[in-house]
Symmetry: C2
């Protein structure tokens, strides 16, 4: 496995590789969710590149950019069957403050984008750069970051980027907690309190399965999360799976939520079908 | 020569081509300026793709999108040694109003961008899309659209796009008039009046060659254009060649101008060295 820390090193490392390259982009602090992405990429690619980069552009002021867990050595040890790890420095990724940027558009202004107004512009900038550097046949992303996934698909379509975007289901602890690098911030008590997110989504899903309407589904899920101890809801919404606009009638929906557990902000989502 | 009118047809036409693909993007109404780009691309590429597309996104309300000359058959007849012409329909290029867009940043707000506030966002969107569809080793652009060229270079650098951008000098009539598809709008009288643009730039250049300062160079060029009959100056500025910010001291400068001759808006530019 080659570890490249600059675009030039990456391009050099890719030269001898022939065939389809699969890409998995991460911010490190790898858990089973990431490893399931790598596995999916390996199954459909001749070679796999994993990027490990805590992208400053996608963190807002007061967010956890400095605190975000970084352990390149530990991460690399977890990777198997990966040809190249791209772990660039900030200077290599952003030799200057970029002048030309990706404008993520309206989907970036709702839900996560409301609380984190510059987040998705930063995500799309780095995703775009790494797509161009690696030139993969496909890239694998987790369904956990559902809105990010939708925006990346939109970018690829609107800019005719030459690759496929593949989604991999959320990996959960046996408790139901969605795996996240940010779970390392949680105390044992908080980890139990955090189960309220997945429980609220499941409560909503049961309503939908029983033939409940969109508003009934949403109300039950919100009620569940609102009364959970130690949890402060940021949002819990029922949206259309593709457009991320509110789903008020029947259709393929996604219950999406973000909440603070102590000082840690967590997200989760669950597919539901209304009607 | 294959003429592709959809991205799918283009990708199909590119499949059998091996080696380096050179790209020339045009809006058609081809003149010697365009053909010099094609020739430059041929000299350094195994294959050449020419796009011919009047991109609606780069025209503002009240501009000449409808009037812009279109003659695909005539254009194709002028092309020699070109493998593929990409002449897409609007529906093929923009199956929907794009949600994710290129934000061209600060350089797009001055000069051309001041008069045409949405112009460069539209240019970069279509350039970006065609780069992704053709995946050329290099693309050739005319120095005539100097600000466009600077923005495309900035986009390629800031987004790590995997190609080289090459500039080709302005082609001029023997009179000095910069070649432009929009020259077809000009009456014979207007064509003579339009010489005021290149004359003003040349007047400024003589001042610079004689050791004049930035402000002297600019003043003489402006004075020349301001008093030219039948011409209404939009702007005439002296800018840094790379940043397009005003050049007030010594350095590699560019005299850039836009002016209306009758109802036709023309642009021109000329390199000058101050100090």
């Amino acid at each position: 496995m080659i570890i490249a820390t600059t675009p030039a090193q990456l391009i050099e490392a890719l030269k001898p590789l022939h065939g389809d390259i699969g890409l998995v982009m991460t911010m490190g602090a790898l858990h089973e969710g990431h490893l399931s992405l790598v596995e999916a990429a390996r199954a459909e690619s001749d070679h796999v590149v994993v990027s490990i980069y805590v992208n400053p552009l996608q963190f807002g002021p007061g967010e956890d950019f400095d605190a975000y867990p970084r352990d390149l050595e530990g991460d690399v040890a977890k990777l198997d069957g990966v040809d190249v790890v791209f772990a660039p420095t900030d200077e290599a990724m952003y030799p200057r403050n970029p002048l030309v940027r990706i404008d993520p558009g309206p989907v970036a202004t709702v839900l996560e984008g409301k609380t984190r107004p510059t987040h998705f512009a930063g995500v799309l900038q780095v995703v775009h750069k790494v797509f161009n550097l690696v030139r993969p046949h496909a890239a694998w992303f987790g369904q956990k970051d559902a809105q990010q996934l939708a925006l990346i698909r939109t970018m690829v379509a609107d800019l005719n980027m030459p690759l496929d975007i593949r989604a991999v289901p959320i990996k959960r602890e046996s408790s139901g907690l969605a795996m996240s690098s940010r779970n390392t911030y949680l105390s044992q008590t908080e980890k139990e309190q955090a189960l309220a997110l997945s429980r609220a989504l499941e409560a909503g899903k049961r309503v939908a399965l029983d033939g409940g309407s969109a508003s009934q589904t949403l109300a039950v899920a919100r009620e569940s999360l609102t009364h959970a101890p130690g949890v402060k809801m940021d949002y819990l919404e029922l949206v259309d799976r593709d457009t991320f606009m509110p789903l008020t009638e029947s259709g393929n929906g996604l219950l999406v939520t973000a909440a603070w557990v102590g000082s840690t902000r967590l997200i989760d989502n669950l597919e539901v079908v209304i009607g």
